[in-house]
């Protein structure tokens, strides 16, 4: 332990010395010298153009994409009447509401049935039917494909150690790569349109599915496996009948993640031609229609909740048994009802077009009151927001940013190594050096520092708001449930909608960027603080209370220290969310990696986009490494079993 401290201290001293002697340093220590900046982007572009033109990979990818396109055309025709085979659609909106309601009823009962049917009624009545169907027609293809591929790869990784070894670093990078970085190669290799949207979504949603499958399969207890073997199950039966059902819980979390990721991509994929809600949302935002884009946001959240609850219910449902001799129509009561209602729906649709599709002109809207509300709110807090803008810019943001840019890059590297050393010894120090050294080698050092600065400020401010809120929320279970519901909603609500109101409040500057990022960064902090605090064992709290600790002591000396490892997972996620959001905040106007990423997307510069994406990914991976390392040591010293945590 002392050796670790000494090493960290030595590196810290070196960092300080470098910073203090900054004015005498050779230029090569101030900013990465030319020999250190390698043309990664050119190499990647050369590799891509080799694959694209010489290997003819483009023909292969485009052929594969045409398979997906066929599926998308089928759902496209059924859902919103795209002019493709089987030329049946569009189905009336009532049929969707009825089907969703019946499916939900079979799986989870009346409440979910009402909610699911209600979601579709809302979509139809609000006049968003065609857009929502364009979105759903892609998600309902992308999500199952992701599930199947993810499950397959997960099983492979669980079976063969080398597959896991190969996949692990790839998944790590994929999960911390900003979405825009994926989209550029997709435009080149697949083209634009719904198929590109579907493929980007699949790539983005795949990692958590693989992860959770591997985790679930690994956790299957020995005794379950043994009892399976004793009953003479073959290898295939072992997998399908024993292991996968036992791993159901984790796989379920994977499915849930897939759905959430799919919906998170709805808006972003519209940049590469995905039609539907996301595209409409961007268009409405462009003409500053906040109320109408808010309505779309609500729809996306409702769809997410519906799909999530239905898929959960499907996964936990138990087989149902009927008494012998129950007549067919009783056994299939819901099916009969469904068929009846469907006939009714088609009949109504042929009588009155309102039951088939509700035109925009007949639609309801809550946009006016929302717009008025936003307007009043902005006027009301304008003095506060103008002061806050002045204060944050003059006293916090500009000094901090300039300070970070003032530091020689060698100081930053030494500081990070020192941090790594103190957390995980020489190995972590080298990991930190590796990640940030590579960022230095991309030649985007200054921009990377601006990204770092935005993330640090955002996470800090988010923590100042999120921790108290989390502690407050953890007091009772009803409160916790409510706060977590808000967290879920904020997380699925499309982040693009925040961009316009924050500009209206703060103008185009870093305060607006930080403001938009905070909303996102606070969510995991609140969530994990609540989960950490509520996870502290009741016996421990009781024992402390019995020895006379008051509420404050309980919180500070017992609950928080015990919950800290979980809370740190929240900090880690918060940093990751911030990194993603900072890239999106380039649409407000930033000077960081995100701005360059936007430029790479509009010039379809694959190499540059990937290099920038990797630079962001490395930041995320470094934070992840440090937090994981720290929390493992911490958990061990608290005597908690590390393997119990997910």
């Amino acid at each position: 332990m002392t050796g670790q401290r000494k090493g960290a201290l030595a590196l810290l001293t070196l960092a300080v010395v470098l910073a203090l002697s900054r004015n005498f340093l050779p230029a090569g220590l101030m900013r990465p010298p030319e020999w250190l900046v390698w043309p990664f982007a050119d190499w990647l572009n050369a590799a891509f153009s080799f694959c694209q033109n010489d290997l003819g990979l483009m023909a292969v990818t485009r052929f594969a994409a045409s398979g997906i396109e066929f599926l998308l055309d089928v759902t496209g025709n059924l859902f919103y009447g795209k002019n493709r085979w089987p030329h049946l659609g569009p189905l009336p909106w009532t049929t969707f509401a009825i089907t969703a309601g019946c499916v939900a009823y079979v799986l989870a009962g009346r409440r979910l049935a009402l909610f699911s049917a209600g979601t579709f009624v809302w979509i139809a009545v609000m006049g968003q039917w065609e857009w929502a169907m364009q979105t759903l027609s892609v998600i309902l293809i992308a999500a199952p494909i992701t599930f199947v591929i993810g499950l397959g790869l997960g099983i492979l990784a669980w079976r063969a150690r080398w597959v896991e070894r190969l996949l692990n670093p790839l998944l790590n990078i994929a999960q911390s790569l900003p979405q825009f970085a994926y989209m550029i190669p997709v435009v080149v290799f697949v083209g634009v349109g719904p198929k590109a949207g579907a493929i980007t979504t699949i790539v983005f949603a795949l990692p958590p599915m693989i992860r959770m499958t591997v985790l679930g399969l690994k956790k299957v207890p020995e005794n379950v496996v043994e009892s399976g073997l004793m009953s003479g199950a073959s290898r295939w039966q072992m997998l399908v009948r024993v292991r996968l059902p036992t791993a159901r819980n984790e796989i379920l979390v994977g499915v849930n993640q897939v759905i959430m990721q799919c919906l998170a991509m709805v808006v972003l994929t519209s940049f590469i031609g995905m039609p539907g809600l996301g595209q409409k949302l961007l268009q409405l935002m462009q003409s500053l229609k906040i109320g109408l884009s808010f309505e779309i946001g609500v729809t996306i959240v409702l769809i997410a909740v519906t799909l999530d609850r239905i898929s959960r219910a499907w996964a936990v449902q138990q087989p149902r048994h009927f008494e012998r001799g129950t007549p067919w129509h009783q056994r299939n009561q819901v099916f009969v009802t469904w068929a009846g209602l469907m006939l009714l729906a088609f009949a109504l649709a042929s009588l009155n077009p309102w039951f088939s599709q509700i035109e925009r002109s007949e639609a309801l809207s809550v946009a006016k009151p929302i717009d008025a509300g936003v307007d009043i709110l902005i006027r009301l807090i304008d003095p506060v927001s103008q002061w806050l803008r002045w204060f944050l810019i003059t006293w916090v943001l500009i000094p901090f940013r300039d300070g970070l840019l003032w530091l020689p890059f060698t100081t930053v590297l030494c500081l990070l190594m020192s941090l790594g050393y103190s957390v995980g010894g020489p190995r972590s120090a080298l990991v930190c050096l590796g990640f940030f050294g590579l960022i230095a080698m991309t030649g985007w050092w200054d921009r990377a520092m601006i990204t770092v600065y935005t993330v640090i400020v955002s996470v800090t401010l988010a923590a100042l708001m999120g921790f108290p809120l989390g502690i407050w929320g953890a007091r009772s279970s009803t409160r916790a449930a409510r706060v977590l519901l808000v967290c879920d909603t904020l997380q699925t609500f499309p982040s693009f909608i925040y961009l316009i109101p924050v500009i209206m409040l703060f103008g185009v500057n870093d305060v607006a960027v930080v403001g938009a990022v905070i909303l996102f960064a606070a969510v995991p902090l609140v969530r994990y603080t609540i989960e950490g605090l509520r996870g502290v064992s009741a016996e421990l709290v009781e024992a402390a209370a019995m020895s006379g600790a008051d509420r404050r002591q309980l919180l500070w000396n017992v609950q928080l220290p015990m919950a800290l490892p979980t809370i740190m997972v929240g900090v880690n996620q918060s940093a990751m969310f911030s990194l993603f959001m900072v890239i999106i905040a380039a649409f407000i106007g930033t000077q960081d990696l995100g701005q360059e990423m936007q430029r790479a997307l509009s010039t379809t510069d694959v190499g540059k986009g990937l290099v920038l994406g990797l630079a962001v990914a490395f930041m995320g991976l470094m934070v992840d490494h440090l937090v994981t390392c720290w929390s493992e040591t911490r958990t061990r010293s608290l005597g908690l079993d590390a393997s119990k945590r997910v």
Binding site: N83, V187, V188, G191, V192, G193, S270, F271, I272, G273, M274, P275, Q279, L282, Q283, M285, Q286, S287, L288, R360, S361, D375, I378, R379, D382, R389, W390, I393, T394, I398, L499, I500, I503, M504, L505, G507, V508, N509, D510, A585, A586, F587, I588, G589, T590, Q591, Q595, Q598, R599, L601, S602, T603, T604
Partner: protein, 313 residues
């Protein structure tokens, strides 16, 4: 006599070949849509016109810069609005690479320039003159620009060279780049609430004309060589000492395979021609009257048959 027969057979051959190629492919054409309303509506208008002559059309939303790459690859068939100042660079680069063709310039002229809302005149009465603007630069100061005025420019990838112009004209302004058109609009909308003075990048025709009245700043007029001959212009030492060209082109672009595959549609597209007033009207139907782009296109077609019917012959 001999000449005449050659001529005749040539004409016959021409007629024959045009008869062979006259039929359009039954595949759908793909029209690229972007994120501003006039473009979405006039794309729908063009799409509806093409459908009226029997073609099939589909729409796809794409980035307004990346679309030229997609056209080159044939993923997108045509584009209805190529603005000179903002997309000229991407379009010219794509032309040089090949795969895309220029389908002609419309009557509409575009203007892209520094712009101020009318309430600015109260604090800076000398506007729209650029020197008057420069004299009241402090009125446009914000916390992040200190004592200098803030000019909110368009996204960096539009490559406007505003920073160069500020330097060349010795202006007391700092350039801040907005990240998207929406960011520019949001800034104007926010400023309108308390009539805060702002100068932003803007262009016409667009819906801002109808919602927030304002004017363009008058800079030294654009001249040939402003961008690459420092010795010319107001500042003999620097380039970019002028405003943007007041009448930028608005072109149509198409995939170079379009003429072969859909000759009839290509001929129609060549004739498609909108004026500023028509584009502003289309944008207004969506942005101010709240119509859906599809419906706005239908309405425009119904109201303006005399304009577009001749394009289809």
């Amino acid at each position: 006599m001999k000449h005449r027969s050659i001529l005749l057979s040539g004409a016959a051959l021409l007629a024959l070949s045009s008869a062979v190629f006259a039929e359009d492919s039954t595949d759908s054409m793909v029209i690229g849509l972007h994120d501003w309303s006039s473009q979405i509506v006039d794309s729908r208008v063009v799409g509806d016109i093409l459908e009226s002559v029997g073609d099939k059309v589909e729409y796809v939303t794409t980035d307004s810069q990346a679309v030229y790459e997609s056209i080159r690859l044939g993923d997108v068939t045509l584009e209805t609005e190529v603005w000179e100042a903002t997309f000229g660079a991407a379009f010219t680069a794509a032309l040089a690479k090949g795969g895309i063709v220029d389908v002609g310039t419309m009557d509409a002229v575009t203007r892209e320039e520094w712009w101020f809302p009318e309430w600015d005149k109260e604090v800076c009465p000398g506007l729209p003159d650029w020197q008057a603007l420069n004299a009241c630069a402090a009125k446009f100061a914000t916390p992040e620009t200190g004592e200098k005025g803030r000019y909110l420019g368009g996204p960096v990838d539009w490559q406007m060279h505003d920073g160069d112009r500020i330097a060349a004209l010795g202006m007391n302004f700092t350039l801040v780049n907005a990240g998207s058109a929406s960011a520019l609009w949001a800034e104007i909308a926010a400023a309108s609430k308390d009539k805060r003075p702002i100068v932003v990048f803007n262009w016409t025709p667009n819906f801002i004309d109808a919602v927030y009245p304002g004017e363009f700043v008058e800079f030294p007029a654009h001249y040939d060589g402003c961008e690459d001959k420092p010795e010319l212009g107001v500042n003999p030492k620097a380039a970019y000492d002028c405003g943007f060209p007041g009448n930028g082109y608005l072109k149509k672009a198409a995939w170079d395979g379009m003429e072969k595959k859909w000759p009839k549609a290509y001929a129609v597209l060549q004739k498609v021609n909108f004026t500023n007033a028509q584009l502003a009207e289309m944008a207004k139907m969506v942005d101010v009257d709240g119509m859906e782009p599809e419906d706005a296109a239908k309405k425009w077609l119904a109201d303006n048959e005399a304009v577009w019917k001749p394009w289809t012959n």
